[in-house]
């Protein structure tokens, strides 16, 4: 089992020059695992994802993605950022948006080629947005846009998908649809998803990675009432602090 590890992190520390954001991180993610990543805001989730994608370099420790340093494997990772890193009135169609995912895989000069268009078509088909391909992104509903962003992450035909709160802006029904879709994709792709709604996704995921500077992993089988209570306990504690801050 340990021979097919896709992401292996050992003894990792990271800081932006000041206090440690991440400390002593160890995780070994196996092929076709479905990992849920939880933690309060500012706990280092996004930082850890950026290290895995080679955008940030750790102070200490080793990171291997598909057996290589992250910068060499980033083309094998499909990434779906948190909503709103672009303007929704940008004149761009669904198809063109999805094609953006081919960057880094396609030739570096000229226009997108036939292979890119085929990959985009397949990705749009997988997430059921093919009929929207000519629509401009500003005309999509929240749920449709999230699917388009998943398609964009899929067009590079990744071995790993990383999704940063894919359901932060959609209702429960759409959230369930999206996680059903991810579960299907999980048959061929290793998935890491950042979320706040651990209670809901526990039926989909294999393990939960709880991050708050350090990382503790729980298999979902261990996710009994007590562990959930503990996790939520920590969570509610943080919320409590926020409220206090606001009052002061």
């Amino acid at each position: 089992m340990s021979t097919d590890s896709v992401i292996k992190i050992k003894d990792l520390d990271f800081s932006f020059g000041g206090p440690k954001i991440l400390e002593n991180i160890e995780i070994d993610i196996q092929r076709n695992e479905f990992i849920g990543m939880v933690g309060p805001n500012g706990s280092g989730k996004t930082t850890l994802l950026k290290i895995i994608m080679g955008v940030l370099t750790p102070d200490k420790g080793s990171v291997k993605v598909l057996g290589n340093p992250p910068s060499q494997s980033v083309q094998e990772i499909g990434y779906m950022p948190q909503f709103a890193s672009f303007s929704r009135d940008f004149p761009i169609s669904v198809e063109e948006t999805v094609l953006m995912g081919r960057l880094g895989k396609t030739s570096s000069i000229g226009f997108f080629n036939k292979a890119d268009k085929r990959a985009a078509e397949k990705a749009m088909n997988d997430v059921e947005v093919l009929d929207l391909r000519k629509r401009v992104i500003g005309s999509l509903s929240g749920g449709q846009l999230q699917r388009v962003l998943i398609a964009r992450a899929l067009t590079c035909e990744p071995q790993i998908m990383i999704l940063d709160e894919p359901t932060a802006n959609v209702d429960m029904k759409v959230e369930k649809d999206i996680f059903d879709l991810l579960k299907q994709l999980n048959e061929r792709i290793t998935i890491i998803v950042v979320t706040h709604d651990i209670g809901f996704i526990s039926q989909y995921i294999d393990r939960v990675a709880c991050i708050n500077r350090t990382l503790i992993c729980h298999p979902t089988s261990e996710l009994t009432g007590e562990t959930i209570e503990n996790m939520y306990g920590a969570h509610m504690h943080m919320v409590h602090h926020h409220h206090e801050d606001e009052k002061n």
Binding site: M53, V55, V74, Q75, Y79, P81, S85, F86, S87, F90, P91, I92, S93, E96, T97, M100, G101, L103, G104, T106, S108, I109, G110, F111, F112, V136, R152, C156
Partner: protein
């Protein structure tokens, strides 16, 4: 109007002016669309105005002002690009300082140039009626260069203007392409200075693309429509200014501005209906 058509069919300077307007519209349609969707009109304005520094120095040294404009536009594009990447907090202040500083340098050099005083107004407000065949060659050459770069790096520029963060994660060297893009803005500014002068450049750079952006669903079509609108604005401005003998540069800008306002009202009204 008839006398304008007569002038176009008989006078070489009028033909040059029309051709100059068309060639300039290509650059401002393509590059202006990026400027509008990326919302860097202020940065582009900074490049346009600081170019007076280079033109003044070139004039002082007895070189053609367009050479000074070309060099200083590229230098300022890189400096301003670096500032906007590295000093995001003070970006607008630094752009403002370079904008005004560049102009001040230009005016000082022009004032110290011996001989009869240069027509400062033609630097500032351009004179499309004075465009020579040599100028047209320059403009055409810069057009070709701009289009070549945009075709080669179409994907990167689209990614950069649409979603910079995602582009970076896909391994695009975002900073390098941003500076390359600002260099295209610089080249476009140099072209447009010939047409409307550096004060009015920013209007011709952004207004055709802004009007176009109200109607289109893709960046390519936005560029195409903006180019067509640029031709309409420059030719229309020339025609309107000819009979009453008005300066063409400001007339062109007012035509573009009026078009933009009317279009803004129409699209607002239309979307509500």
């Amino acid at each position: 109007m008839n006398s304008f058509i007569d002038a176009v069919s008989t006078q070489a300077f009028m033909q040059n002016a029309i051709i100059g307007g068309i060639l300039a519209s290509v650059a401002c349609g393509v590059v202006g669309s990026y400027v509008v969707v990326k919302r860097i009109g202020y940065l582009a304005g900074g490049i346009a105005h600081s170019v007076l520094g280079g033109m003044g120095i070139a004039y002082y040294l007895g070189r053609p002002p367009i050479e000074g404009a070309l060099v200083s536009a590229l230098v300022f594009a890189v400096i301003l690009g670096w500032v906007s990447l590295k000093m995001q907090q003070q970006e607008d202040t630094v752009i403002g300082a370079l904008w005004a500083g560049g102009m001040a340098v230009g005016i000082l050099f022009i004032s110290q140039t011996p001989g009869y005083s240069v027509d400062l107004m033609s630097f500032l407000f351009g004179n499309i009626l004075m465009i020579s065949s040599d100028d047209l060659l320059w403009i055409a050459g810069l057009d070709v260069l701009i289009l070549l770069i945009v075709f080669l790096f179409y994907k990167q520029f689209l990614a950069l203007s649409f979603d910079e963060e995602f582009a970076r994660l896909r391994g695009i060297p975002v900073e390098r392409f941003y500076l390359l893009f600002l260099s295209l803005v610089a080249l476009t500014v140099v072209i447009l200075i010939q047409i409307v002068g550096l004060i009015l450049v920013i209007a011709l750079l952004t207004l055709p693309a802004a009007v176009s952006g109200q109607y289109v669903r893709s960046l390519n079509v936005m560029m195409l429509l903006a180019t067509v609108l640029g031709v309409i604005f420059t030719t229309g401005g020339l025609a309107l200014s000819y009979q009453p003998d008005l300066p063409p540069g400001p007339t062109i800008i007012l035509v573009a501005g009026a078009f933009y306002l009317v279009s803004l009202v129409i699209t607002r009204f239309w979307k509500k209906a």
